[in-house]
């Protein structure tokens, strides 16, 4: 009951956020909309029994990445988005995106796997324990983990180099 309400609520919020992201002319508004989507998704993660990921989602995505975006928008402060239309292919692209969605929906509806997922609730409602996750992260996925950490380091350096004023 309550999960269902929560799901519908969050799903609606997420979709609304996404639409606002497209609609808004003001980058900040788009950013806020995106934050909304992320928070909604975080709650959905809770519903899916992944509290850790949910927390990380908020901390890193909403709390760090999006703050960066907002910060940059404020810093540059270019105001409203300018509406030009040089790209002929934008509209077809959008239509294609719709096709993509349709495809997936159709597949979920009609394919055997899709139906298998559709009917019946998800796997037993055991919360993915953070301990298990960390074990996995630091044993099975140790190398990718280290790799990403190095990637982050490089990203930091790259950002520094790029943003530094040449003088």
């Amino acid at each position: 009951m309550i999960p269902l309400i929560l799901f519908i609520l969050c799903a609606a919020l997420a979709i609304a956020g996404a639409i606002v992201l497209i609609w808004a002319h003001e980058p900040i508004h788009s950013a806020l909309a995106l934050i909304l989507v992320m928070v909604a998704l975080a709650i959905l993660y809770l519903l899916l029994g992944a509290p850790f990921i949910s927390a990380v989602q908020i901390i890193v995505y909403a709390g760090a990445i999006m703050v960066l975006f907002v910060f940059v928008i404020m810093l540059l402060n270019f105001g409203l988005e300018e509406r030009t239309n040089f790209s002929k292919l934008a509209i077809p692209g959008a239509l294609l995106a719709v096709v993509l969605m349709a495809e997936i929906a159709h597949w979920l509806a009609h394919s055997s796997i899709g139906r298998a997922m559709a009917n019946g609730p998800a796997a037993p409602a055991t919360e993915a324990s953070t301990v298990e996750l960390s074990k996995m992260l630091f044993r099975q996925y140790l190398f990718p983990f280290e790799a990403t950490s190095i990637l982050i380091l490089i990203a930091i350096l790259g950002a520094l180099v790029l943003a530094r004023k040449e003088s």
């Binding site: 900040i28 508004h29 806020l32 509290p51 709390g63 404020m74």
Partner: protein
């Protein structure tokens, strides 16, 4: 009624939230009073004195003032965001507190409410992460306020604050990770229970789990927390002398009040967190076996009552005498109530928790009264070049200790 029995969790939560909200709001109000008084006395002034005895009614007056002031919204401002910002700030500030356990949720001292522990609104096993999640959103309040005002000073203030808060959030988290490593849990209750014993088992001093005393982590945390809450000496975003009032220059009336409360709510939150992580939360500093400590709350309140009584008789005149008398009675009554063993037993947790929080809050106020403000570049270099490396070093050393300790112990 039916609903209650179907969803005890929900109902209990709602009740607890309501109560907590009331308490916290009051606490916020009187925190401002405390701050003003403390600073005043440190600077050898009297501070608020006229509204009520010792200015006890000052917060009430302020509140009323804020409510009835005109609420100006700059025409060039981005209305929606301009309105959203303060709500966001306050909401997040208060939500964070919902995760804090003010007393034991199980075992002796815990109080049941519809089968739910009463001393904590929630008890989730990654409370710490969730807390960080919520506080990490706090920056939006400030940043958006700064941006939406659509004027120079607020924008600069907003930029500063977002930069500052992001920078110090890193150190804040890092300094806490040491404790998490030692305790091996993210749940507040487990974090606290693992520190049980006496004060030398608190994470600040403890070597119980083969870690190192988290004293460095504690100091880093306190510093970063001050910056996180935008208070002196890190109150760059609202530096009067430079930016008039920083991000909330354009705000007035109740929206301003909300920012104000949000700031104090954040203070309380970080103090709670410090208490839980480093100072053993609601645990008493003394070994459980010392049962006389149960009477400390009562004794403390009675002492307060005694002081108030003397003060009433000695100094107060007229209406003030009446007001202080009421306070005396309240304190005395509360003290006597707390002397009843059952109550005493169950009041222990909240009592110690509050005491510790007050101590830390006083420390903050003290800082504010003592230290001058940083320059912006100093602030940044301090955060990135000193605080972060320090907290990282603390983390690394703790981790090493945890790895090496078993080897040392078992040869």
């Amino acid at each position: 009624m039916e609903f209650i029995y179907q969803h005890p969790v929900l109902v209990a939560a709602i009740i607890k939230i309501a109560v907590l909200l009331f308490i916290v709001m009051t606490a916020l109000a009187y925190l401002t009073w405390l701050e003003r008084k403390a600073i005043a006395h440190i600077q050898s002034r009297w501070g608020p004195y006229n509204v009520g005895a010792h200015g006890l009614l000052q917060p009430l007056a302020d509140g009323i003032k804020f409510l009835f002031k005109e609420d100006i919204t700059p025409p060039v401002a981005d209305k929606f965001v301009y309105t959203l910002a303060p709500f966001l700030a306050l909401a997040l500030g208060l939500t964070a507190i919902a995760l804090i356990p003010f007393g034991p949720v199980r075992g002796p001292g815990s109080v049941p409410l519809l089968g739910q522990p009463a001393w904590a609104v929630t008890d989730i096993n990654i409370g710490l992460l969730m807390l960080f999640a919520i506080t990490s959103l706090g920056v939006y309040g400030v940043a958006l306020a700064g941006w939406s005002s659509n004027s120079k000073y607020p924008l600069l203030g907003g930029l500063r604050s977002s930069a500052q808060m992001i920078s110090y959030e890193v150190s804040l988290t890092m300094s806490v990770v040491g404790v998490v490593l030692v305790a091996g849990t993210l749940s507040f209750n487990e974090l606290i229970e693992k520190q049980s014993g006496a004060f030398w088992h608190w994470n600040v001093f403890s070597v119980r789990y083969g870690g190192v005393p988290q004293i460095v982590g504690f100091l880093c945390y306190l510093t970063a927390a001050i910056a996180e809450t935008n208070r002196v000496p890190f109150d760059l975003p609202e530096a009067e002398t430079e930016l008039v009032a920083g991000f909330h220059t354009e705000y007035s009336s109740f929206k301003f009040a909300m920012f104000f409360m949000a700031e104090y709510a954040n203070m309380i939150t970080v103090s709670c967190l410090a208490t839980i992580l480093f100072l053993g939360g609601w645990l008493s500093p003394f070994p459980e076996s010392w049962h006389w400590q149960w009477f400390l709350p009562g004794a403390g309140l009675l002492a307060l009552a005694a002081y108030c009584a003397w003060n009433t008789v000695a100094e107060m005149r007229g209406i003030a005498r009446l007001q202080l008398g009421v306070v005396t009675l309240l304190a005395g009554g509360g003290g006597l109530l707390c002397l009843i063993p059952v109550v005493a037993e169950h009041i222990q947790g909240p009592f110690w928790f509050t005491t510790k929080i007050l101590a830390i809050l006083f420390f903050y106020i003290w800082m504010r009264a003592t230290l001058p403000r940083f320059r912006y570049d100093q602030l940044m270099s301090f955060g990135w070049k000193l605080l972060l490396p320090l907290s990282l070093a603390n983390l690394v050393i703790t981790a090493l200790a945890l790895v090496l300790w078993p080897l040392v112990k078992h040869g």
